[in-house]
Symmetry: C2
């Protein structure tokens, strides 16, 4: 029994481990629970991990809150590539810069790590239908994983959800309810309906097991650097779940005696939606409208804010913001320098990293990882909006030759 207890992030009340326990009875949705492990009972070594031939996040199964006998969903998830990016190092005068490309997951975002664990927990709870609210990546991830596992999904999306993102759910057969209202109302309804119909809930800032899936990205950073740690990780912040997961992963490694320090976690937000940046300075969260091209992180008030703040503070981290113009530049600059195409929220981390590097905030010798959380193909409209479509050229050889001479 490696899970000791489930502990409220707000009042610290503890609850016994159960796959379908979500939030604190006293604090409600503010009281997201944290999974507390009996680390002494988890026996694992670097050698054992290195010897695994399971190239997915399930290579870390011993460190996950999933029973040994639980059937896991079949899609290959995690163990995404970590690239050393020399062109970026050269551009900014740094010695050790890496990109972790989580857009390579099955439905093309980091959310798949959470869905994989979520599906496993739904099975432990005996659920047949999983419910969630989302406008984007989390929902299509859930829909894809549920389809692969033969489970049903019921997903609430707000009226303003982009058609392309809704299509990604429908493709996988998710029962989709477009709520004629905001995301906040869709979230509330997903919780109401979960209770009313006895479904299983996969909202990441509600069901505490999902952050445990996301933490595996930190394990991989460590293992893929040759069982070494970066000095900093840059990650974009929306609800704060990924930031929380990165911290939990590194925290686990320390508790298990596998590492001895905590890398600095630097959260990056869009300037048009930066409640985390403000809260880290003032201690207070003030709801915002959420105006940015990076739709996946346009979250006016981060729902997993307590865990995210713990991550930033305990890692001696920071939270900064970048303008939409900086995000637009990064949409092109990063793929051109690295071959990795990220969606706006994904390259926001790159834009924040670049801002810090230009401000000489990073020592040249520091090992830096930029985490790309979603693939650019998820949102091709944003890519089109930053590209200049060339004008057609007459097809005769002479005209084409003259044109090519100018281009090369």
């Amino acid at each position: 029994m490696k899970v000791l207890t489930m502990k409220c992030m707000k009042c610290e009340k503890e609850y016994p481990d159960a796959p379908d326990r979500y939030v604190c009875d006293e604090c409600g949705t503010d009281g997201i629970l944290d999974i507390v492990y009996d680390y002494g009972s988890i026996k694992i070594t670097r050698e054992e991990i290195a010897a695994s031939k399971n190239y997915s996040l399930w290579r870390y199964r011993k460190m996950l809150p999933v029973a040994d006998t639980t059937e896991i969903p079949p899609l290959q998830v995690g163990w995404t590539p970590l690239y050393r990016v020399h062109a970026v190092e050269k551009m900014l005068g740094l010695d050790n810069v890496y990109i972790k490309d989580d857009g390579r997951n099955p439905t093309a975002s980091l959310k798949d790590r959470a869905s994989a664990v979520g599906i496993a927990k739904a099975r432990e709870a005996g659920a047949k239908t999983i419910c969630a609210a989302s406008t984007g990546n989390a929902a299509s991830s859930l829909a894809g994983f549920a389809a692969s596992a033969g489970l049903k999904t019921l997903i609430f999306v707000p009226k303003r959800a982009p058609r392309a993102k809704v299509a990604q759910l429908l493709v996988y057969g998710a029962k989709t309810v477009i709520v004629d209202d905001t995301y906040d109302r869709a979230f509330e309804l997903s919780v109401e309906i979960t209770k009313k119909f006895g479904l299983y809930n996969r909202n990441c800032a509600y069901n505490p097991f999902l952050v445990e899936g996301k933490k595996t990205v930190a394990y991989e950073m460590w293992e893929q650097m040759g069982f070494d740690l970066p000095d900093r990780v840059y990650v974009s912040i929306g609800d704060g779940c990924i930031t929380s997961g990165i911290y939990k992963g590194f925290y686990d490694l320390m508790q298990l005696g596998l590492t001895d320090r905590m890398p600095r976690i630097i959260g990056v937000q869009a300037a048009g939606c930066n409640p985390g940046e403000i809260a880290l300075k003032t201690g207070e969260f003030v709801a915002q409208q959420g105006d940015t091209i990076a739709d996946s992180i346009a979250v006016g008030i981060p729902r997993n804010r307590l865990k995210a703040m713990r991550a930033l503070k305990n890692s001696n981290g920071d939270c900064i913001s970048v303008t939409d113009d900086e995000i637009r530049s990064a949409l092109l600059e990063m793929p051109r320098a690295t071959g990795v195409f990220g969606e706006p929220a994904g390259v926001t981390a790159f834009a924040g990293f670049k801002k810090h590097a230009l401000a000489k905030n990073i020592d040249a010798s520091e090992k830096v990882i930029i985490l790309i959380t979603g693939n650019g193909l998820k949102d091709i409209e944003s890519a089109i909006s930053v590209c200049t479509m060339p004008t057609p050229v007459a097809p005769d050889s002479e005209t084409i030759e003259a044109h090519v001479k100018k281009l090369l």
Copy 2:
């Protein structure tokens, strides 16, 4: 020197191995060359392959026409998942059905296997700029791999190329020429300009090294089935390069004494563009217009037809076609049964497989692999066109509850 010679598929004239030799001097673009190996000089065992910790197509480097010292591009490519799909087996009364998901490659299509080898060969040729003609996946693949390797690209696309596919090139910084004409003219121009400006050419039905990259998908099928072979592979056919690659991979394994038989390769075309199906029956290729939703295989006359026909004939294979309605059905049916979302040309293979299965053409005990060549996110517009967008529902709890009751 594992490459013995480069041999014309049409007149059988042989040429010495060179990274920048493309087609036969006598037969021109009809005379695509085949890479002929000195199999006796390649010493490799199952044990050696199984022990490799390189989870990319480069685990088979000994079997690729790339020098040991050549620097390879950094993007992780190949070693895509092979999934057993029980829901599909159940649906069609078969015992052993697998999906190989090549949409999981870096730029989300199988073309990345060819680009990886193409970039390596461009380096051997000392090239700085790579040239290609394409409307879609091959071009964005080349652009992404070249960006990761610090090389330049010049890409010709026809006027009718969809904006979303052109954007994928521009994102990676490809110098893009929109030719005010057809794909055929863009192809011709790419060959002309390659010669005129001394560039390196990456057209897969022109540069014979690219099929050698694609052949690795067959090696992986074999290894991932536990060093066993499928009885059949279903694959969609456009220019015929992937079909040719699958055959070459299985052929290599036989020549190297690693296997003792050739699986049947079943090509699937769109009914609106089926020159391969007709040619296999009549022995003659008749150019077509290419009218189908599956744009990546809308090829009126397959340019790699000689290699593709060899693959189908020598493997005791077949070539069939499916209607656009069958492709549209597969666009939804496959992800809902498997969690794998393919683009129209990708799911065409699934549609062909299903057609054969329903016609009882496949024995229940046969091991079947369906190769999915591109990710559905490449072409979200086609997905939107087959989905029914739900109507927004009023956000009060009562209305939502009543609505959910009907849905579940």
